[in-house]
């Protein structure tokens, strides 16, 4: 029974995949489709993995959607001014990192509630993005070399999938293997206890927020590479979905703590449901209803296992 409670959410994903495979053996259950799902979930996974950092702090960052959009616009604008790929990527990631650091700084030093701080930050970033882009979709001057970081296959595996795997390993490494990660989790568990145990709350908080938006900026770059264009609000849709994935991940594996593998799993559930329902041709309103029900059910599976303990 501990197995069900421990791997309940994974089991949930298994059930979902099984049901779709039965309903659509030739559409859904094909290898190429399954591989494609890994690609479709990857950007969401990367944003959600970033969110896992601030959730480990028991905080929120609501600016991540705006940062995804910003990264796209900033990078294309830089390309337009003649910057090279590497420089552009570094500047964009740096800008993304800076946004989180600012939020983290206010949250840590002045105890501004993160919810409102990052909501405000997101609004500010959104305004700046609009300013830079003039509200238009930008698509010219994107070098082919840059586009290749977000499309195509390496050894039969989509590049984006590799990015998501790398992101998962990165977040797992930080959270589980570094002192920074353990400190972030301790602050999230009991801020005062962590502080009194000598954890530097301010730097850890700033890092967590910075890493969160850094991941969002990475997702923004990959999105731009994938689409070959950048839209000033193109990443905003990631916000709630990323938290949904991260929360699904929290209920998986680690007994209520945010964790990398669980977050990837959460993103997978969301992507599989979207893909499966589209393949089955379910009308869009029923898709919404089913998506909601399936998410609730995936969380519940774990709980049933636990209740039976």
């Amino acid at each position: 029974m501990t197995l069900v409670s421990r791997f309940g959410t994974l089991l949930g994903l298994g059930v979902i995949v099984a049901v779709f495979s039965v309903l659509s053996p030739h559409g859904f259950a094909q290898g190429s489709n399954l591989i494609n799902i890994t690609q479709q979930m990857s950007l969401l996974a990367i944003v959600a993995l970033g969110a896992a950092f601030v959730m480990s702090l028991s905080e929120f960052d609501l600016s991540i959607g705006a940062v995804v959009s910003m990264a796209g616009i900033v990078s294309v604008t830089l390309f337009g001014s003649g910057w090279g790929i590497l420089a552009t990527v570094i500047i964009t990631l740096g800008a993304g990192f800076a946004v989180g650091c600012i939020s983290g700084f206010f949250v840590a030093i002045w105890r501004v509630p993160s919810f409102i701080m990052t909501l405000a930050m997101g609004t500010i970033v959104g305004g700046m993005t609009f300013w830079v882009s003039g509200g238009a979709t930008l698509f010219s001057n994107i070098p082919v070399g840059f586009r290749d970081i977000g499309r195509g296959y390496v050894g039969g595996i989509p590049v984006l999938t590799l990015w998501a795997v790398a992101g998962t390993l990165f977040v797992a490494f930080i959270l589980d293997w570094t002192e920074l990660g353990r400190r972030i989790l301790a602050i999230g568990g009991n801020r005062e206890a962590a502080r009194l145990a000598g954890v530097g709350v301010v730097p850890a908080t700033v890092w967590a927020f910075g890493l969160c938006t850094l991941m969002a900026a990475l997702a923004g770059l990959l999105l731009t590479a994938r689409l070959g264009s950048a839209h000033p609000t193109g990443g905003n849709g990631f916000l709630l979905q990323a938290y949904a994935a991260a929360y699904l991940g929290m209920t998986a594996f680690r007994d209520g703590q945010p964790n990398a593998a669980g977050t990837l799993l959460g993103a997978a559930i969301i992507a599989v449901v979207a893909n499966g329902l589209t393949i089955l041709g379910v009308p869009n309103y029923l898709q919404d209803i089913f998506t909601g029900l399936i998410i609730i059910a995936s969380v519940m599976v774990r709980n049933f296992g636990r209740a039976a303990d």
């Binding site: 494609n36 479709q40 010219s140 609000t233 905003n236 990631f238 041709g281």
Partner: protein, 282 residues
């Protein structure tokens, strides 16, 4: 003169293009234009219309909205003597002029072009978004055209999520491409962004596909892609700059105290395809 421009969809490419042209043209007239975007929020839109009416602007321009959705506020502004001009919307009580392209006509134009290009038979994928009243009209036009062309079948359809329509459409199309492969002969997109998403999916997952994609809006990226001889073959271009220019002209007249001749002005639309762009692909 102060002119207030309000829209819930500033980040939509078409709306943005209209407003940009409007701003440039107004600047030439020496007007001060204040653009307000409420990000899809109609309660906000209602409040902001109240605000600008209170601030006493010379004219209110509503872009890409059905003014009936905020009927009272529009009527109140009109009662204050402030002319309300609607671009790409509809008529309602209090609206001085509505300058638009008929969305139903756009839908018919797109459907007819696509069906003809497909030789009046085959399967299409449909990308739509019924929450937007204008876009919904296009969908209704498609339904009508389908009734007249029994050779065309919709084998898959997808309700596009906004924001992020390109990636959303791309993901759905990737799925459809795997599922139906060569059975897909055409893609009907209610506007250009899903069309671009569909094209990206085909380019990466089934480059040899013969499916023809067409959308609406004359989005610059879409035009670029048509030029590149991709599967995206056409877009129906509404004359957004034309709409904006007409609006500026009409507002100038209204401010001078003239009564508009017609309360509804239709600006025509045309299909942009390889031929009209002068590219040949072989």
């Amino acid at each position: 003169e102060d002119i207030a421009v309000l829209t819930p969809y500033l980040s939509s490419v078409a709306t943005n293009e209209m407003i940009e042209t409007f701003k440039t043209e107004s600047a030439a007239k020496g007007w001060t234009v204040n653009v307000v975007d409420t990000r899809g929020d109609f309660q906000q839109l209602a409040s902001r219309v109240e605000d600008v009416a209170n601030a006493g602007v010379k004219a209110i321009v509503l872009v890409s909205v059905d003014p009936n959705q905020i009927g009272d506020q529009v009527a109140a502004a009109a009662d204050k003597g402030i002319p309300v001009i609607v671009l790409d919307g509809a008529l309602a009580k209090g609206v001085a002029i509505n300058i638009t392209t008929d969305n139903f006509a756009l839908g018919s134009l797109l459907s007819d072009y696509l069906f003809k290009a497909m030789g009046d038979k085959g399967n299409i994928v449909k990308f739509f978004h019924s929450a937007h009243p204008g876009v919904r009209q296009r969908e209704l036009a498609l339904d009508k055209a389908l009734g007249e062309h029994p050779g065309i079948k919709v084998i898959a359809e997808h309700y596009v999520q906004v924001p992020g329509p390109i990636d959303n459409a791309r993901q759905a199309m990737e799925t459809f491409v795997r599922q139906y492969g060569d059975e897909i002969n055409g893609v009907w997109a209610a506007w250009d962004e899903p069309a671009i998403g569909a094209l990206l999916a085909i380019q990466s997952d089934k480059p040899d596909s013969k499916a023809l994609i067409a959308g609406i809006d004359g989005n610059p990226q879409a035009i670029d892609l048509i030029k590149q001889c991709s599967n995206l073959v056409a877009t129906v271009r509404q004359d957004f700059p034309g709409i904006a220019r007409t609006a500026v002209k009409e507002i100038a007249a209204v401010i001078e105290g003239k009564k508009p001749e017609k309360s509804e002005i239709f600006v025509s639309a045309n299909v942009i395809d390889r031929a009209s762009l002068g590219v040949s692909c072989n």
